[in-house]
């Protein structure tokens, strides 16, 4: 069963389009990474899925229902994002208690243990926390709520390296303990790659790729070698990225549609074939111009 399905979703803000004709489905009990550059429309998409905002056109279904302003979707979804606010007058332990009253599957023991592990003072107020600690607390709420659809939008912003690592580990462990559908948005794919099953890559509001992490690692291949040889090799192929490397050298990333023999022939021509990591691939796919930042300075 699909937990989330989007058909031709468009969202307009003022004159610009934040989302354009986005269609995809997310299966039950999977961890999907929503990857995209700043301003690609990640938060907008997640807000629409969580029912906070309404799409301009297209159809969105969450648990087979229209999520906007839907109490059932709200009760079964938790959306953890950077602009989440909690009342200034309440302490962390009161907030956890309140969260427990709202969410059906709330695991209070987990929440309290995580609070203790990350040394957050339960009598502290949310407003007085630092940015990283706020993110940590929000993450705890997101995990302990154990909602069938759990959405984390840039959950690690502000967290230090140690907490980040712990968070991903906690997420994975809790996912195994109680499977659910998780969407995790991030612009740092290499950090989350290990825990993701699927990747949904969006660029300027449009779907770029949606596949498993395994497939993504095979999706493209990097070719480096003398410029002329590389050029002739990649001609008429789908070039994802190209840059100069060293003197007279070229590095190009193309779709991996080669057979074993094809690759062997390339090697004989003095070309070097390297796998392209999912992280680099996403970066190449979403780069604004082919030349990259070098182009600005040249």
């Amino acid at each position: 069963m699909n937990v989330v399905s989007c058909q031709g979703v468009m969202k307009r803000y003022g004159r610009g389009n934040a989302l354009r004709n986005l269609s995809f489905t997310l299966a039950e009990n999977s961890i999907t990474g929503l990857i995209g550059r700043n301003g690609a429309g990640k938060t907008t998409l997640l807000s629409i899925i969580a029912g906070l905002q309404k799409q301009t056109s297209g159809e969105v279904r969450v648990f087979s229902e229209n999520p906007f302003n839907n109490l059932k979707v709200s009760a079964n979804t938790i959306f953890i994002h950077g602009n989440m606010t909690f009342p200034a007058a309440m302490t962390l332990s009161e907030l956890l208690q309140t969260a427990g009253s709202f969410y059906h599957n709330w695991n209070n023991q987990l929440a309290e243990r995580l609070l203790e592990y990350f040394s957050l003072d339960p009598s502290q107020n949310h407003n007085n926390l630092s940015k990283g600690m706020k993110s940590t607390f929000n993450m705890i709420v997101g995990l302990a709520a154990r909602c069938p659809l759990t959405i984390f939008d840039e959950p690690t912003s502000g967290m230090d390296a140690g907490v980040r690592k712990d968070f991903y580990r906690a997420l994975l462990k809790d996912y195994i303990a109680s499977p659910r559908t998780i969407i995790l948005s991030s612009h740092l794919l290499n950090e989350v790659e290990d825990i993701l099953e699927d990747i949904l890559l969006i660029k300027e509001g449009e779907k770029c790729l949606h596949m498993t992490v395994e497939d993504m690692k095979e999706y493209a291949i990097g070719i480096s070698g003398p410029a002329a040889a590389v050029e002739s090799w990649i001609a008429e192929r789908e070039i994802i990225h190209q840059q100069t490397a060293g003197v007279n050298g070229t590095y190009a990333v193309v779709r991996n549609v080669f057979s074993e023999e094809g690759l062997e022939r390339a090697r004989l021509q003095g070309l070097e074939m390297t796998p392209v990591s999912a992280d680099s691939l996403c970066m190449y796919l979403t780069s604004k111009t082919k030349g990259g930042i070098d182009h600005v300075f040249s």
Binding site: N29, M84, P87, F102
Partner: protein, 248 residues
């Protein structure tokens, strides 16, 4: 996959108790405002005096109206405050939808105003008591009220306070709907008052509004008027709320 089925009434109840906890600072400010009102009330609301060559006298009236006015002002501000983004978005950190937010807001205002009405009533008595002690060298007269009259007074002040909260809630929602209303609202209200004064030579709008509520001799009719007008404001506010989205 097991999905939790929720009832609107259940979520409204939870949102309501969440709001009572989270707005607790509003009650502190209420007590503070009423204390200031008590202080101001000692000035006496009106006075008269007279005398001749051999004696003189002063008559001062001390009423708790100032306390009620301050409390109404507080209710108006609380009404506006809970429509602001910071408060509105707090709801969405947990389970809610627009209806649940709206109903729990109304419930919250109803109970906050009840609390304000009772404390205003008590402050009035506190004030009168202090007045008796302070003015012990003077002679004083007090109006005796029956329990029925007292209750009626209490309910009437409650309704006035709630009316102001409803107006504040609607005004706040308008402003959230479009920032321009921060300027438009006062301009329209004061503009109309001035315009009426200029055109007809006398300004009766405010006066008539006061008469509409204040001159009602039947308590039941008064209650119906307040509840009717408040409901209109809430209906309009919920229409506005439906056009709004939550920004993450």
């Amino acid at each position: 996959m097991y999905l939790a089925e929720v009832k609107l009434s259940n979520i409204v109840k939870k949102q309501y108790s969440y709001k009572l906890k989270s707005y607790s600072s509003g009650f502190t400010s209420l007590i503070f405002i009423q204390m200031i009102a008590i202080l101001f009330s000692f000035n006496g609301s009106s006075m008269m005096g007279g005398g001749s060559e051999t004696f003189s006298y002063d008559v001062k009236y001390f009423t708790g109206s100032m306390i009620l006015v301050f409390t109404m002002l507080w209710a108006f501000i609380v009404g506006i405050l809970i429509t602001t983004k910071a408060y509105r978005n707090d709801d969405y950190s947990f389970v809610t939808n627009q209806a649940a937010s709206q109903y729990s807001n109304i419930l919250f205002l109803l109970s906050a105003c009840a609390f304000a009405g009772v404390t205003a009533f008590l402050s009035t008595h506190l004030f009168q008591l202090i007045a008796v002690f302070v003015l012990k060298d003077h002679s004083f007269m007090m109006q005796q009220l029956t329990v029925g009259e007292m209750l009626k007074g209490l309910c009437a002040s409650y309704l006035y306070i709630f009316l102001l909260a409803s107006i504040g809630y609607f005004a706040g929602m308008l402003i959230q709907f479009n920032r321009a209303f921060v300027f438009i609202l006062p301009v329209v209200i004061f503009g109309l008052l001035i315009l009426e004064g200029v055109v007809t030579g006398e300004s009766t709008m405010l006066f008539k509004t006061g008469i509409f509520f204040g001159d009602e001799t039947s308590f039941v009719l008064f209650a119906i008027k307040v509840i009717g007008v408040s409901s209109l404001f809430y209906a309009a506010a919920s229409f506005l709320l439906r056009q709004m989205e939550v920004k993450a």
